[in-house]
């Protein structure tokens, strides 16, 4: 949950990008990192595992204004997506304030998407969180690929509660900031 730093007068919020391996979580984060103003962001930290990286950085959006005299700093994380790296995923979810599920739109990754979503619910439940009660948005990435499943199909399989969803082509930046803005708004709202 959000941490308040009275010294710097900042509220720190943690947003985790979750989803199956190679679905575009890292691409989202790298795109955001490269677009936010250098003087408002921290370092991009990469925690390398055997085959996948966990990325992390924090930034202070300049256009967000103040909340009761405090600025809001977002800490963005990715998780390793491959099924067998669950220990890392669970650890990263601890204290989460908002979640972005980055689904891989390719038909062939449907099972991996569904498994990852189940895994997200399960891991959050172990911390006592309910995904239906925390800021959560879904991004359907790789919409430009010819084997992308129709959005209705993805919605039916992955988004039973019909939270906000965004189509994206993260390698080109399409939909990346729409997704981030949406989850940020929900996080800010939850703070209030």
């Amino acid at each position: 949950m959000s941490m308040i730093n009275y010294a710097s007068r900042e509220i720190n919020c943690k947003i985790v990008y979750y989803g199956p391996g190679l679905g575009g979580k890292t691409t989202n984060l790298e795109y955001i990192y490269n677009k936010v103003m250098p003087d408002t962001r921290g370092k991009l930290i990469s925690l390398a595992t055997e085959t996948e990286r966990t990325l992390f950085f924090d930034f202070l959006p300049v256009d967000l204004g103040m909340i009761r005299g405090f600025r809001v700093r977002f800490h963005l994380y990715t998780v390793p997506g491959q099924v067998y790296y669950n220990a890392s995923r669970k650890l990263i979810l601890k204290g989460v304030d908002g979640v972005v599920f980055v689904a891989d739109s390719q038909m062939e990754r449907m099972d991996a998407n569904v498994e990852s979503m189940h895994n997200l619910y399960e891991n959050l439940a172990e911390y006592g969180y309910d995904l239906r009660r925390i800021p959560f948005v879904v991004q359907y990435n790789k919409r430009d690929l010819p084997n992308a499943a129709p959005v209705e199909e993805l919605e039916g399989a992955l988004n039973p509660d019909r939270v906000s969803c965004y189509e994206a082509v993260a390698v080109r930046g399409i939909g990346v900031f729409d997704t981030l803005k949406a989850v940020s708004k929900l996080v800010i709202k939850a703070l209030g």
Partner: protein, 186 residues
Amino acid sequence: MNVTCPRCRTVFRVDPAKVPAGGVRARCAICGNPFQVGLAAPAPAMEPATVAAPAPAAAPPPIVEAPPALAPTAARPADASALPAAAPPPAPPPAPAGAARPAFAQTDPDARARRLARALVSDLVTYQPDLQGRGLREGRLKELFWQEIKKSWQEYVRQVGLEKAQKTPYFRDALNEILAKGQKVF
């Protein structure tokens, strides 16, 4: 062509070129229901989507419950209906009307095991597509993926338990369908 799953009514786009003249058996990627695409045998008996009898409130709609078949866009030999009789999971109760949505984190154990197997094998292919191509070309899939398969199997056993892992065909089926692209290699 558009194909509609008779149970959950999801509409899929299917490349007609991939459907053999005699039709093909497919598995709905959403609800797992097996059904016929194109000509050939009449569709197998399946629960209607709107069953009046109420299911238990906590019963999740099945994500997958049928013996392994294929995703709607994949091709499969016409004799695919002759699926192995090895321990097909019992058909779960039909989803109550209007509840055709996945109940996350509360799934039927067989559906969960099957989905997990497919996700694990899908990861293998996603991370090493070149190796898959080479393995298929050279007939060395088993050899080239041995370590990765072992690692995935261990994770599978850890999550579903040794008994279910050994008594059900899900992992092997996933290897054949996804890694071996429908060939019976494993």
